[in-house]
Amino acid sequence: MSLSSALNISARALTVNQYAMDVVSNNIANMNTEGYSKQRVNLGTVTNKISIGESVERQIKADNGVQLESVTRYNNQFLKNYYRSQNSYSGFLAQNADLASQLDKIMNELSGTGLDAMLSNFYDALNNLNEYPTDSTARVNFIENAKSLVAKFSSLTEELVATSGNAMGDGTRGSMESSMAYVAINDMNAKLDELAEVNGTLKRVQTGSLEANNLLDKRDKILNDLSEFYDFNVEENKNGTVKLSLGSMVLVDGENVKGKLEMVLPSEFYGGDDKVPEGSPNAIINVVDSEGSVVYKNINDQMESGKLGALVQAEKDDNGRLTAAKVVEQLDLLANAIGNTFNQLQTREGAYCLNNTWSELEKSTTPLFVGGFTETLEDGSTVTTFKASDIRVNSEIENHLNLIAAAYFSDPSKVDKQAIGNSDNVIAMLATRNDKNVTGLDGQTFEEFYTSLVGKIAVQTSSGSTAADAQAEVVSSLKNQITSETSVDLNEELTDLIKYQSAFAAAARVFNVCNSCFDILVSLGS
């Protein structure tokens, strides 16, 4: 055993403890960094290689002491993987709930200004017209309420159509580029680049070092962020780099981005507006490589998880889900039923309106609602179909209120032109409020049909947000578990700091003692 050996041991101890304090200070510095995992120094004793058969003395004399074995980070890989798959699902549900709540806001009927209230006012106006069939105020009131009704129809569809374009666009470039899916794909592609870059750096640094651990934290954070978009498959290599794939399509391998998502319009995809097949989505997602050439075509059907999955499927109306487009369809049915029912009564045989001096009756031929699409059938009869977006009150009636057909004579031989107070047609119109046999409304009255539509939307939104909330709770508790297992605790660090500080101080003292021993030896010789 030599003095210099003790000196060496204490010198190494100084270095090692100083490094340990570096790690502690790094931990403290990063205690609020998102995704940072606490790192700890693994120390080990230095063991010299001693040949068999050497003397005990020689063995004792060997240069022992402390050495830095590795710096490891607190990690729970299983939990992190689980977290990512749950996070994907949460992203899917949250996005779905968000889309559903947009419908809910549009169709919010509790305010008293919804379609339901408009229908109710319309019938009130009709009832008033029954009392005063020749009164211009009652007629204006009726027409104004009919106008409010159709205006509500058109504003509802306008909002719904705008909403249906929120997810994937409405088939135009501008709308696609401002859609939620487009923005999400851009974000995701940027993350893919980041991941490839981290992969590249990870390859070059030594595992078990402080730097490598910091990179792994960064990688994990990118993977967490990516999991919100889609439930990607992640394969981890020994050096910490990962291979990321969407289903079987590899997107990132090592430092290379093999594929990025790209959104194109169906007309571009199929090569012309006329070639787009029926029922095609408003935008199509391809996978392209770094040169921009398409690797995988039309992966819309594979997009089934995460935020992207919810956005791509937003307009698919499978499982009886009410999409914005589906709600518009239902409103179209209602508008068509109302338009045709009232037009039929307004222009039927025996319906009479006032002449232009309001003094006598004349045959009514002017429809109340216009804007429908009329087609002629084979047998020569015509069918008019109204859409909620296009139905309007006939401006001719609006300008000539006398044209409202209030009178009706069931018996053509009893038509009395002077009977301007006859309001039998208004009574027939009033009776439609309780009519359950309207074509296309499944045995429901106008109001029942609408209320049940609102009810369905409410249930859908409510169950969607309940599911999303429950899943968010799962994710948050997982995240909390990960945080408590891997994050920095100040008390721990301070304890470590004091621990290493004392070790450092003690080693310095040993060094000092050895040093004075050398001094004594040197002074002996003089």
């Binding site: 709540s101 009927e109 509790l110 009832n127 107070g421 609102v454 009810g455 939307i457 605790d489 100040l490």
Partner: protein, 419 residues
């Protein structure tokens, strides 16, 4: 339970709970501020649908209530009109009774006649009753004056009914509950009757008119045009220039009926004029007045017949024609039954409307009860129970405050404080 606890995870957990408390507190604050249980339909879909349905029902009930109030006031107006009409009809009947006894002299009868004539005008005013801007008894012709009274040169009255006829099947209806419509009007011809000359028709059933120069014109209803009878060319003059041609009364063998100056009837068979008993009429033909055919019904029929019979009786008295006097007296007596029938018409309608009024009142009561129940139900669905909401709000506030103070206390705690 998690094994390791770190300052970061503790902070995050605490923050989450604070956030939960804040959300709960905020939700309750919004509810308290708005006074509504639901802020969005998805808060409680079942309640939302119930609210919509109930709101609609309450709204409908309000409409029905309005309709019933309007109908009831219209019916009670009609009721008082009927009372008035009945009292005048009764008065006219009393006069007829007095006149039919044969004890009155000419001047007294003239007094009775002028009284009767006055009642005709009064009754037509009553029949022209206006309510809410419409003529009550004109049926669907709500803007047409229902009764016009004319007195011809001989002092004979015609009371024409211009409203829509009971036979047109039109009834003014008002909705008093879901799909139930109640009739709330009656046409004048049904309740007060009329006394109209019968317009002459040609062989094809077209009504005949005379133009300004006495040419015969007929009205084709199908084409809604007037044509000359002579050559079927269209009449292009003003419709207001046309006057109706009326049927002259005839006896059983088709002889035209006239009235002589003394009130006696004279007939003309195309060759000679003669009295009812066959004696030749020797007087001046130019003194003969045509007797027209009348459609007579109800109170107006009775009173107009009374008036013309009184006229004949006075004429007979003037000329001391006792035969005619007796006949006229008999026809006055005949009007008594017609009066009874007329008054009966009015009181029948009155009774019917009394029933309607009762029904409306009953429905109104039911509606009010329903409305009360529905409003209460609606309030249960959508209105906040303030006392429990405030209690909840207070405890949410305490919870939030407690979590805040717990956080601020525990965040300070670390080894750092003791070094």
């Amino acid at each position: 339970m998690v094994e390791r606890l770190t300052s970061t995870s503790t902070n995050e957990t605490l923050l989450k709970y604070i956030n939960n408390n804040l959300t709960k507190f905020n939700d309750l604050t919004i509810k308290l501020a708005s006074g509504e249980k639901l802020t969005s339909i998805s808060d409680d879909p079942t309640a939302a649908v119930n609210i919509l349905n109930t709101k609609r029902q309450v709204n409908q009930l309000n409409t029905f209530k309005g309709n019933i109030t309007l109908a009831m006031s219209s019916l009670s107006n009609q009721d008082s009109v009927f009372n008035l009409a009945e009292s005048f009809a009764q008065k006219a009947r009393d006069l007829a009774m007095q006149a039919s006894t044969g004890t009155y002299d000419k001047s007294a009868l003239e007094g009775i006649k002028s009284g009767v004539d006055e009642i005709i005008n009064t009754l037509s005013d009553i029949g022209n009753n206006e309510y809410n801007g419409n003529y009550t008894f004109a049926g669907a012709r709500s803007k047409t004056v229902p009764y016009t009274v004319e007195k011809d040169a001989e002092g004979n009255f015609t009371v024409t009914y211009n409203g829509s006829k009971a036979t047109s099947n039109y009834q003014k209806k008002t909705e008093i509950s879901d799909g139930v419509f109640e009739t709330v009007n009656v046409t004048g011809d049904q309740v007060f009757g009329y006394y109209e000359k019968v317009q002459t028709e040609d062989a094809s059933g077209h009504k005949l008119f005379k133009d300004a120069s006495d040419n015969e014109v007929y009205y084709n209803e199908a084409q809604e045009k007037y044509f000359y009878s002579s050559d079927d060319t269209e009449y292009t003059g003003a419709v207001s220039d046309l006057t109706k041609i009326y049927n002259q009364a005839e006896d059983a063998s088709g002889n035209k009926k006239f009235e002589a100056a003394d009130g006696a009837y004279v007939f003309y068979d195309g060759a000679s004029y003669f009295y009812e008993n066959g004696d030749a009429y020797t007087g001046d033909v130019s003194e003969l007045n045509k007797v027209y055919e009348y459609n007579s019904s109800g109170t107006f029929g009775a009173i107009c017949e009374l008036s013309s019979s009184l006229g004949r009786m006075i004429k007979a008295m003037e000329n001391s024609n006792s035969d005619v006097q007796q006949v006229a007296e008999q026809s006055i007596r005949n009007t008594l039954d017609k009066f009874s029938a007329g008054i009966n018409n009015i009181s029948t309608v009155q009774t019917k409307f009394g029933g309607v009024l009762n029904r409306l009142e009953m429905t109104n009561n039911t509606i009010q009860t329903n409305e009360l129940q529905l409003t209460e139900y609606l309030s249960n669905l959508k209105d906040l129970d303030f006392s429990s909401a405030i209690t909840d709000w207070m405890s949410a506030q305490y919870a939030y405050q407690a979590s805040l103070s717990a956080m601020s206390q525990s965040m300070n705690m670390s080894l750092l404080n003791y070094m």
